[in-house]
Structures are given as structure tokens and as C-alpha cells.
Amino acid sequence: MSNPVKTVKVTVDNQVIEAPEGATLLQAMLDAGLDIPHYCYHPKLSIDGSCRLCQVKIDGMPKLQISCNTQVRDGMVVHVADPEVEMTRKGVLELLLLNHPLDCPICDKAGECWLQNFSMRFGARHARTIDTRRKRGKRLDIGEQILLDQERCILCRRCVRFCREISKSNELFIFGNGDQSVLDIYDQRLDNDYSMNVADVCPVGALETKDFHHRMRVWFLEDTASVCPSCSNGCNIMISSARGKIWRLTPRRNDAVNDTWMCDAGRLNYKFVGDPARLRAPMVAGEGGPAEAGWDEALKRAAGAIADFVKRNGARTLGAIASPHLTNEENFRFGEMLRAIGAGRIAMAVPRGRQDDLLIKAEKAANARGVRELGLVSGEDDGLEAMLRACEADEIRGLYVCGGDLLEIGQKERVDAILGKLDLLIVQDLTMRPRHGRAAVTLPATTFAEKEGTFTNHAGRVQRIGRAIATPPGWRTDGEIFTALMNELSDRTEQFELAAVWAAMTRDGSRFAGVAFDSIGPEGAPVAGA
């Protein structure tokens, strides 16, 4: 901090660009918005210099230089729009296409392929070769999640470097020399927690994820910037959707959180959004078990049941389980609703699992920290043990449960016994589970991909999620459910409007104070003290 990085000035085709001292020329030009074709350079991997596409002419240098491995110097004069540079690019691209199969119609990368794009923009439009193309392995099953097509590979070694430097698992190598070079695995399959990132770094369709293989063309996909819901790291992602369905999640660059990576488990965890078993309508208890009901009726029933319960047992015997999967705004409204009722106790159940020192965190939910920052829960275990004891001691006789995590914490018998003897149970969950059978009302929850809001990750960074999938008409998101119940139970007429909820949430004294809603950009914003 004390020694600010010096900036230097470089002239590129009569345009002066600034870059921090020590930056590579390629990165400086890319940051300045210049369109410089390149393959092997990746901002988060070491420099390889193998593709030779990024060459530029620099005054004072006898030959063209690869800009990815050249540091900027003050007063450097660079030429890009230059016949020699253009001819070199054409030559490099022609060589790369020499043995490239004409697979575009069946290649998952088509439409976002760097070889297609750069060949169209900087290459020659027609092939001059008459020789037959080299045959190599296709559709090779090299790992749990990844297929390799050796014919499509342009030998940029990005994937090799990823496995060496990021996942540190060293599965991929290039064998042979010259035009006999080929990418392959050696003594172990490509199975690591981050293996699917190789399909992102691969500029062509040589490495493809099995999950996305032959499923959807990328030009039909609509991208929504969001945050991974699967652990508290909060990796930034793009949700790619089309025809009302999610087709894939990919990492979105955020240097403060996940660089350009995400884990395989997070990437694959989107299918629950389109799960046919999800609740499509509220369920209310009836004579012959739970039955579907309209939203308004179900909300009235839920409010009525709560009011009755409070009249009979007193509000202090009502407890609530907050969900670490819901947004900050929703949890804030949940807190407001519980305060309006006068509920006695709130706890949170957080599913836990494996962690590592790259991205994966033990808490398998995106917003546990948000619930804590809101002050809804406190204590080592977020008040869960105390809540279970209070239920067992009949101090708590009714529960409002958000999410199904209570059923996942590994205390099956205990939770079963508690749920079995409660006077009132109201549940909000994605699916109808057997143990929701006793609920007076079960309200459908809404997934991260169907609403807007913010999550607070493990380090206290508030990040926005985006709405990629539409909900059916008349649907109420979790925040709208809490708002409707609060209005019904305390004669208010609030709306669930994000900016307004955020404003209420950031009033003085709140941990979120000082963070303006509009200031949360694509990279998020840290909460005070984080």
C-alpha cells in the first residue's frame, strides 16, 4: 500500500495506453480494450508462449515479439495494425487449422470457440491444403466429467498448466514433439475437484464436460450473472439458461473470490432447480393428508394457524429455523415477521461437508454468514442445540421451518421426535419430504436461480444473485411469503421490494450499514468489518 505501483505509458498504433509497471504487454493491451488474438495466455496461469498468435512489432526489436511474455516499458512503441503482424497471425492460424477437423457442427464449443472467432477475424478465409488431415483420438473418456478430442486440440497447454498450477494434480501432459505432439493423460485419470475448469480454459472444443456434451448450442443460451449457491465461498458464476431451463453453470471472474474457477460439485449442482419433484403449489393439511391449495388460501391458513397457536400457547413458544439458502433480504424480512409475531427463538441449521484450501468451504450453503450478520442467530452452532433442547423441554411448541436442512444435520431420530410432537409446524421447502407430512401448511420455496437478491459469503462479501428462470404466474418467492404473512398477522401493507428492504436493512447499527444497494457491483462489496 505504501508504495503505489508506478504506471508506464506505451504507444500502440498511435494510441497511448497506461499500464502498471511490470505488467505484460498483452494484458496491458487487453485491459485497454484492444482486440489482440491469443490462445495460450491466461491471466490466472503461468506464461507459456507456445501459441505465437499474440506477436506484435516493437520499435527497436529486430523481430516480432510475443506480447504475452514482454513486459511493458515506459515509452515503448508497439505496432499491431501492421502488415507483418497481420501476415504472421494469418500464418499461425493457418498452421493451427492445418490438421483441425471440421467438427464445428458437432462441437460443443462452436459459437464461443476462440479458433472460430480468431480465424474469422484474423485468419485467411480459405484452406490451401490438399493433404488428408491427421487422425487422432476422439471422445476419449479421460475423467469422471471430461471428454478429450485430440484432433481439436491446438496444444496451447492451458489445461496442462491448470492441472499443474491450480488443481496441483498433474493429470494432463503433451506427449511427442513437433506435429506428432498430442495431449493425453498418463498414469491417472483427470479426476479432481476442479477438473471441469479445463473445459473453460480450453480455447477450443478439445476438452468438453460430459454434463454439457451435445445438449444445447451456446448461441441459444442466455447468461445471467449470479453466485454459486452450493457453499459459503460464493464463487461468481454465469447461469446459462434457455427454454426455461438451466443448461450449465460456468465460473465468472472475480479476483477477490474465485479468480476464474469453480469446483465441479458447485458446477453440477443446478439440477434441483428443474427437478420435477419440486413443490408446484402450497400444500395444506386436510382430512386425508396434505392437499394442494391456492397461494392465497394457503397463506391465509398459515397466518390463521400461527395466530391460533399464539393465542393458545403464547408467542414465546413459537420457534423458527432460518435458512442459510435464502438471501439477505429474505432473511431480514423473516426476522421482521418473527418480531411482529413475537416469536421466542431462532436458530439455523447449516449443512456441512468437506473443505479444501482452494475454494471449497465446509458450509454447504451460500448465505450462512448473512443470517449471522443480520443478527438473527448467534452462538457456535447458530443456536441449534439450544433450540432442539427447548423443543424437547416443551418450551418451544411450534416451529416455522425454512428449508430442509434440519433434516440433514445427522440427528434424524431426535429431529423426528421433535417434529412429531409439535403443536404447530409450518414448512417452506423445495420438495415435499415425508417428514413435512405433519405440517399445517407447506409452502414451496424458490431457488437461487428464480429470484434476485444478495448473499453474504464466508468472508463477508455481499454479492448479487440474478434471476435466470421465470416462476409460474401467481408464484410467491420466499420473501413475498414472509411479507404476506407479516402483513396478515400485524395489519401492515408492506411490499417485498428489494431496494426498500435493503434500505431498511442497512439502517444505523446494522452490520450492513454503509453499503448502498446500487454500490454492489458485479464483484460484490464487503460488509463492514469484513
Binding site: P105, A110, R139, H213, R217, W219, F220
Partner: protein, 167 residues
């Protein structure tokens, strides 16, 4: 294309009108010489269609009975009326993928031929079939099995394409 590139729009309009005027006076002359019937009595009577005719788009079927289409989705993207719907799937064949579902909503198709032009595999072809009315809207939704036509029956059009397009 020369007829459309006229710089002056009035000349283009007059050229178009001239066609109508010519037919009007031509037919008037025939009428004055005693001809009564100017209609073609379809379906008993049919016009001979030029080779450039674009009937409904169909899928080329190879000798082994399979479609030539690899479900690349380019026609789906090119189609201005979005009447093509494809769901790709994987096959063990060398081509790797095929359309598990390939539907064309003929009630929306406008026979523009852009799908045919976009196709890298010569797999969707504007056939000579123009009699495709149906009694229900559902009947206008053609599935893959209905769309398959053996390649040798599409020769007039594929020859025409190869002659007239840069391929």
C-alpha cells in the same frame, strides 16, 4: 438480382407494374379473341414448377435410413420465424450427434429457405412438396419421422443448390 438493384425506386415500381399491365392486356386480348377460362383447375391440372421452387423444408435421409442432420442448430438459429425445434443427443456413430427431436411448425414456416442455406451438411432441403394443409394445428407440427425424405428424391433441389450457391 439486377432487377432489384435499380437506384431509382420509381423505376423499380414501374417495372413491377409493367408485369401486371402486360398480363392485363395480354389476357384482355385472349378474352376478346374468345377465351373464357383463365384458371388452372387444381388439383386435376397442375403447373410445371421451376427447379428453383421452395416447397416445405424436409430432412435428407441417407441410404441407411438415418438422417443426415447432426443437430448443429444452425437452421434453428437462422430461421426467422423460429419454427424449428431441435433437441440433440449423442450417438455411437462417427458423427457423434443426431437430432433426438426435430420439429418444424409448418403453420409458421414461410418457405424462405434460410434453414437450407445455413445447413453445413446439406441435411435440410426445400422439397417440392407444397400440399401440406391439415385439419388441425397439431397436424401442422411435423416431427422428424414425417420430415425424412430419401436423398435421391431431393435431387432436383440439391442439383439446383450446388449449381447456384457457393458451397
Amino acid at each position: 438480382m439486377a432487377t432489384f438493384s435499380s437506384a431509382n425506386p420509381w423505376i423499380a415500381i414501374l417495372k413491377g407494374l409493367w408485369v401486371s399491365i402486360r398480363h392485363f392486356f395480354g389476357n384482355l386480348g385472349l378474352f376478346l379473341r374468345g377465351r373464357q377460362d383463365f384458371a388452372i383447375h387444381f388439383p386435376e391440372q397442375r403447373l410445371v414448377q421451376p427447379p428453383a421452387l421452395r416447397g416445405m423444408p424436409v430432412l435428407a435421409q441417407m441410404a441407411d435410413g438415418k438422417e443426415r442432420c447432426v443437430a448443429c442448430g444452425l437452421c434453428e438459429w437462422a430461421c426467422p420465424t423460429s419454427c424449428i425445434t431441435i433437441y440433440p443427443a449423442e450417438t455411437a456413430d462417427e458423427v457423434e450427434r443426431y437430432p433426438e427431436i426435430f420439429d418444424i411448425d409448418m403453420s409458421r414456416c414461410m418457405f424462405c429457405g434460410l434453414c437450407e442455406e445455413a445447413c453445413p451438411e446439406e441435411a435440410i432441403i426445400m422439397s417440392r412438396q407444397i400440399e401440406i394443409a391439415s385439419y388441425s394445428r397439431r397436424g401442422s407440427l411435423w416431427h422428424k419421422a414425417d420430415l425424412l425424405v430419401p436423398v435421391n428424391q431431393l435431387k432436383t433441389r440439391t442439383d439446383y443448390l450446388r449449381r447456384n450457391y457457393e458451397r
